[in-house]
Structure formats: structure tokens, C-alpha cells
Subunit: 478 residues, 2 copies
């Protein structure tokens, strides 16, 4: 992937001043010496032929030959068979790629929210890119609508209406770079509204809080129970907007109940409130009763956020917002301000990928892969860590497991880490809630069956050891 | 590009409640009727087979058959040969793609800063995407370094060091979505610094002003002359940073002179000022003396912004920042906050494209295309609009042309528009400068030879008409 063509070196930057004192070949020598010393030309780089460089600089070929000979004599350049000249290996090497130290890979990884990117459908994606490059009108490669290309907005509307039970018009879709940009844009728009105050789930994800703090938007936590966010508490909070995860509450895994959905929509209608629906993980339901998006119930009161990160790959950075009519303008303006729109070829490829049914196809395939891993995980937990009580296993890519009371969550996470296991506890996701309980988040998107089993067995042992210590250390056996 | 596969319709969302009153087939009928009325299922869509839908919903096939027959009787569904069932054409059509009204295309387009996207190297780009999809480790498709993939940062460093005479280490490169996001991120970071105040060129581009106003950063205009920005005026402005276009001042087209470069760097060193270098159009120099980037002179005092928009296509949204050491952290954090990093496949494809020498190759080809258009434009201006005095023609994708004194720039632009010609005047780019002069910006990135000639001839006529009016209307013939 990284061969430099000879010809490309003729783009080498050399500034010649014809009015300057000193010969032309001397100027070339100084420029090349400096470039090699600075590391702008690295050892082994093929130099342009003397003819090419002479043509490029508009000097006679003899001038360049003289400079090359001098630099070869000094060891900066090396002449090779076939008349090729390269930068010498004794020349000062500099400006090498500074490799970032790779973070130590855990042996067993229960990180949540990570799909299995080894399953990315490379062939199907390439077919879509090829189709786009074959047929797309050039206009679409120029500056365009900051909301995204019309082809993708239509394809997403059709997909969301069909699969998520939504009511989406293509002109209300705004394509973003993943959920991260979507929530960031929503935060910027909320901030513009006088008296805005955003409620977040407690426990809940950190992203909306981070965004609120960055843009200077007041925020308030609202407790979550087994049925989802508490609507009376939301009402009391005097928030003008709330960010929720109805399909699979993060991190507890509950699905927002039908009654709670109705209450939440009633709150939005009565109070003029805005619901920001983070529909992450919605594609992974492991039973026969899929739950539609909240947006379908109240399209004028919901900003919907979705992404391809959990189905295809986070590296695509493909996400989308669906907006109520009144917010399309402000959200599109915020996207325009952020980066003037998402990359066109990738958007068009995704539109094609959706329209061909490849997205559905991949989703079906992955659903069965994850269902299998989930079964392995649940079986292993029941067998080798029966002290843990699971929750939220009906959807998504993680299972939350409550630790027995009195077990030190932080100590278990740390001991697991020492044993080469990456797993998150719940501690980082509580905000104010009083009835905090210790728990672990078992992400099963990336781990293999054996790793899952070994990891669970180890954690089971750690939990039992921790209980024993707790008992011994405090008030002895119950 | 937009055929829906039959199988994908089995992803149709139907919520069945087994505890509800009413038959299962009745529930299915109501759900499908609603979906068709809402436009979630559009006319002509292929329905899943009764067997597939029954399996999906975990009901007997007879239940689905009954529902389909009822809906067919009502005209919502149509049974076709081969047992295929489709949504009927008499069903309420809704949720159609809302086509944005396409802005009226000018007959002749002198818009500036637009490359010729019809020349986008589709085949070469596809080869790079294919290579990436063939060889890239899956890890790179997961969440990654918000600065961008290491492969691209290395390839960009090598390219910029070689071609732009810069001093770039890969770990100081931050990949962005075009210049728009780059300058937006720079603005967010400047805003964090106590007492920050940014100077902009007058006349100059609007983007840095828009960003400053958005983030609440004080800004001040500094006049530009034939050699570039006035350093004494910058010094008096008490700005802590300045945004400049050294390679091709926008809109006047001047190249920042060697003396002025030295003065500007001295200002940065003495005052601890930051230079934000917008290196747009730098690739297009039409003489033999390329000018290096300012960054090469003072890497610790310059934030460099570049993009592939003017060489390849704006639709790629590929841009990059090169940062002084002390700002890498804050800029990377701002990029992380904005969208958690740019799309991986596109970054990797561009890295491959650069390493193969395809970028250089395309650039050489386009340089000759634009040189030709520039010649046609300059010849046409000399012949058919001799009243206009050109400036800044040695680089870039536009030529600025001064109008004779007394000619109403706005009237000429409006009259050109009425004649089907899109061209910008200078009026929108002055801020405070006293010696404003009327002028036009002839972008020649996208117009063909004949359009250029016809457009210039028409504008010449309009200018002469305007002068005649001015003379007659004011103090008669001189």
C-alpha cells in the first residue's frame, strides 16, 4: 500500500531564485541537503531523473546532473543500477512515522457497544462503492446539501419507516458522522433555545452530559427503573428536553414499556418538551416482538438518532438524525457549520447498500451470530457465576449483571483487568441515583465463545473470592 | 441503484400482542394498512412471502394468508404471477422522496473555488478502495484515534514535506472533514485560550469570521496589499492569532512575499502569536517557482490547514491540520468532541492514493487542464474586456479582475446573472478597508473554453454599457 512512484518525486519542492548570488546547481544542492537533513526526503526515496527535474525547474539537465554528483559524493544520494538515484541510507533519518504506542490488548474483551468488525461485509461494500463510482453524476462530488445526499436520505427514510415503524420524510433526515456528531449537533441546537435544560437518564451514557457541558447547556439527571425513565421525575425536573434510550436502556438494558412510552409522549405534548431518542442497539432484538421507535408515535416531538456503527462498523462514521419539522433548519445549519456535510461517496455507497437489501442481509446474519454469543454468555453466567443476576438480555450487544450486595465492583473490575479481562462496571454511569447497586456490563460483540466462557469463569471466581473477603473482613458469615 | 430485495421486506415491523383482544390476522391487517397509509410501505414494494412473514412473526402461515387476502380485497395489496404480493398502486402514496428544488443552474459558471469534478479519477480511487478492503486489518474499522488513521497521517506528512516544503511529523497531523471542519476546530481551540483575539485578512474569506462569531471569539480585520497581509497593522491589532492565505490570497490572488513571510514569522515569535495558514489552491502554481508553505519556516508557530477539495473533489470532505506540538492535544480533543474521527475507509483509501503517486499524477493532469483554461480566460479578458485589470493570475483557480473606477460592481454582477452568468464581485469580502475597489472574481475551475469566452465577452459588454451610463448619468463625457 505504500510504494512511492518515481514520477511523484518530481513534485519535490525546490525554490530557485535566478536573481540570487550563487549557481543554480548550488541552490539545488542546498535545497536537497536541507530536505534530507530535515527528513522531508527520507532514506531510500527515489529521486526524479535528472531530465525530469531539469524540465520541472526549467534549467538545463547539466545543472541537475552536477548537483546530483556532488550530493552523491557527500553520501546524501546514491546512484543505482538502471540510472535510478535514491536518497542514501547514511543520510540523517528524520521525521519517521511516530507510531502511537498501541494500548495493551486485553486477552478477553467484554467491552460493550463494539460490533464484530471482522464480519464487516467487505465484498458487498466494495460492490456498492463500485456501483457509485460507475454511475453517480459528477455533481454529487461537488459541494452539496449539508443534510446529506438525497439518495441516502430517501433510502434511510424507507428503511426506518419499514423496520423501525417510524414516520420519516427524507427532507427531515440529516446525515451525520456517527452518533457522536449527531448528539453534538443536537446539543448545539438545544443551546440556542432560551431556557433550555436537558434531562439525562440516571444511570445513563456519558455522551449527552459531555455535550451539554461542552456547549454550556444545563443538565439534570432523571432516575431510570425497570420500565425505563421516570416520567413524573422528568416532569418535576423542569427540563425542556430529555435524552433517552428506549430500545435498550444504557446500561441497565430495559426496554421502555408501552405505558411509559405513552406517558413520555404525553409529557412532550403537554410541556412542549423535546425527546431525543438514541436508538442504539435497536437492531438487535432476540425475540419475536420488535419494538418500534418512539419517533413513530410523535414525529413532531422527537429528534431521532441512529447509526450504522453497531451493525456495520464504527469506522464508517455513518449516522443520522430525523428531525421534527421545526428543527430541520437549525440542525442542518449546525451540521453545515460543523463540517459542511458528510463525505459523498460513502453516503452514496450506503444508500446503494441499503437499497440492495445488503444492510438487512448483514443484520440478519449478525443477529444470529450475536444470539449465539449471548446464549454462550448467559449459559456461562448461570453455570460459572451464579452469584450474578442478569438484566436487559433481550436486546443489544451487552448484558448487565448485578453483583451481590457488598461486593466491591471496583475491586472486581481491577482484579479482572489484572487477569487480562476488560470489563466495565456500572459505577461510571450513575449520576445521583440513591439506590446504586454494583454491577458489570458484559459486552459480547467481539469476544469468541471460548473467551466468553473463560472470562465468565474467572470473574465468577473473583466474585466469590471478593465475597469471602468481605465476609471475613466485616461481620463474618451471615 | 435502488431495487429493494424481496427478502429485505421481512424486516417489516409488525408488533403482535398475543394478550390483546382481536385476532392475530386482524392485528397484521391493521398494522399493514397503517403502514401503507402512512407511506411506510410504498406502492410496488414486494411483500415477504406468507411463509416468510409467518416464520418471522412466529404465527401459522394461514394467519398471514388470511390477512393478505383481506388486504388484497381492499386493494391495499395486489397478488401477482408467481405468487408475489406487492403493495397496490391505488394505495395511498405518501412519504415520497421530497426532492429539494434544484437551484437554477447558471448557463455559464465562474464560481470560484470549484474544481472540475467531472475529472475525478474514479478508476484510481476505486482501486485504492479495493486495495483497502482487501488488506486492511479489521481493527481499523472499529473506533480509532480521533486524529485519523496512522497510515494517512504518515502519507500526508511525507507528501507535505516533499511538495510543500513543510516540517511535518505524522503525530501532529489531524485528519478533518475538509477545511470547514478544520477551521471550526481551530476556532474552538482558540476560544479556549484566555484573551484570544483573531485577525483576518481584509479583504478575505468569510469562513474564519463566521467561525469566530459562532464560538464567540473576538476578531479584527487587517488590511492586505499586493504583497499580502500588513504585519505592522497586525501588530497594532493586538491579535493573538491570524488567519492567512499565503499561497494565493483570497480574493486578491497575491502571493505572500518572502519579506512579508519573514516579518509574519518574526511577529509570531516575538508576540507568541499563532499563524493559521489556509493553504488552499497552493497546488496550482502556473510558473516554475513553487512557494513553500509558511509552516516550513516556523512549525511551532503555525497551524496549517489543507484539503483535497480543490485537487480531487469537495464531496470527499477530506482535509487536514498540522499542528505545533503544544496544540496537538487540544485540537485532537476538539475533533474527538466534534465527531470522534473521520471515516476510516476513505482515509485509508486516500493514504493508498497518495502512496501510489495517484494524487501527484492527478494534480499534474489537472494543472495542465487549468493552465489551459486560465490562458483562454486571460486571452479573452485582454481581447473582449480590456477595461478589466487582472491580478493574482499566477496561482489558484481564479483570477481577480478590477473594474474601472466608477463602475457599479453590484449592477454588473446582477446584469451578468440576468444573462445566465454566475460570477462573484469583491463586495462581500471587504470588511473595513478604506480603499475598496470594484472587481470581479473569475473562477475557471469548471467552465469550458467556449463558456469562458462567451461569458467574458458578455461581461465586457456589460461593463462598457455601465461606464457609458455612468458617464452620461453623472458629468457627461470627460
Amino acid at each position: 500500500m505504500a510504494r512511492t512512484r518515481t514520477s511523484s518525486s518530481s513534485e519535490l519542492l525546490i525554490e530557485l531564485r535566478r536573481d540570487a548570488t550563487g549557481s543554480l546547481h548550488g541552490q539545488i544542492e542546498r535545497a536537497l541537503r536541507a530536505a534530507i537533513r530535515d527528513g522531508r526526503l527520507t532514506s531510500g526515496t527515489t529521486m526524479p531523473s535528472s531530465r525530469a527535474l531539469a524540465g520541472h525547474l526549467d534549467v538545463s539537465r547539466g545543472v541537475v546532473v552536477e548537483a546530483y554528483e556532488q550530493l552523491a559524493a557527500e553520501g546524501f544520494l546514491v546512484s543505482q543500477q538502471g540510472g535510478v538515484t535514491r536518497v542514501g541510507s547514511t543520510a540523517a533519518a528524520a521525521s519517521e512515522a511516530v507510531a502511537a504506542p498501541s494500548p495493551e490488548r486485553p486477552r478477553i474483551d467484554f467491552a460493550y457497544g463494539r460490533p464484530d468488525v471482522t464480519q464487516f461485509p467487505r465484498g458487498a461494500w466494495l460492490r456498492s462503492v463500485r456501483e457509485v463510482l460507475n454511475v453517480v453524476p459528477s455533481d454529487l462530488l461537488a459541494y452539496g446539501d449539508s443534510r446529506g445526499v438525497a439518495e441516502l436520505r430517501s433510502a434511510l427514510a424507507a428503511y426506518l419507516n419499514r423496520v423501525r415503524g417510524m414516520a420519516v420524510q427524507p427532507d427531515r433526515v440529516i446525515v451525520c458522522n456517527g452518533f457522536a456528531q449527531a448528539i453534538s449537533i443536537v446539543g448545539a441546537v438545544l443551546k440556542l433555545q432560551p431556557g433550555a435544560r436537558v434531562a439525562v437518564e440516571d444511570p445513563g451514557q456519558r455522551d449527552p452530559i459531555d455535550v451539554a457541558e461542552r456547549v454550556g447547556l444545563p443538565w439534570v439527571p432523571v432516575p431510570v427503573d425497570d420500565c425505563g425513565v421516570s416520567v413524573p421525575a422528568l416532569d418535576r425536573s423542569a427540563a425542556s428536553a430529555v435524552v433517552v434510550t428506549p430500545a435498550h436502556q444504557f446500561p441497565l438494558g430495559s426496554v421502555l414499556s408501552a405505558d411509559r412510552r405513552a406517558d413520555l409522549v404525553a409529557w412532550a405534548r403537554d410541556r412542549g418538551g423535546l425527546i431525543v431518542e438514541d436508538d442504539y442497539d435497536a437492531e438487535y432484538r432476540f425475540d419475536h416482538e420488535p419494538i418500534g421507535a418512539l419517533q413513530g408515535l410523535a414525529p413532531e416531538h422527537v429528534v431521532y438518532c441512529g447509526s450504522a456503527s453497531k451493525v456495520l462498523a464504527p469506522g464508517l462514521r455513518l449516522g443520522w438524525l430525523v428531525s421534527p419539522g421545526r428543527l430541520v433548519g437549525p440542525l442542518a445549519a449546525a451540521k453545515e457549520a460543523s463540517d459542511r456535510g458528510s463525505p459523498a461517496i460513502e453516503q452514496l455507497a450506503f444508500a446503494d447498500f441499503l437499497a440492495r437489501g445488503e444492510f438487512d442481509h448483514h443484520l440478519r446474519r449478525m443477529r444470529s451470530v450475536y444470539r449465539q454469543r449471548r446464549s454462550v454468555l448467559l449459559r456461562a453466567l448461570a453455570r460459572d457465576a451464579p452469584e450474578l443476576v442478569t438484566a436487559g438480555a433481550s436486546a443489544g450487544l451487552h448484558v448487565t449483571a448485578w453483583l451481590p450486595k457488598g461486593v466491591d465492583e471496583e475491586a472486581v473490575v481491577a482484579a479482572a483487568h489484572d487477569a487480562g479481562i476488560r470489563i466495565a462496571g456500572l459505577a461510571g454511569y450513575w449520576v445521583e441515583a440513591r439506590d446504586r447497586r454494583p454491577g458489570l456490563i458484559f459486552g459480547y460483540g467481539t469476544a469468541g465463545d471460548r473467551e466468553i466462557e473463560e472470562g465468565v469463569a474467572t470473574i465468577g471466581t473473583l466474585v466469590r473470592a471478593s465475597r469471602a473477603t468481605t465476609r471475613t473482613g466485616s461481620d463474618g458469615p451471615p
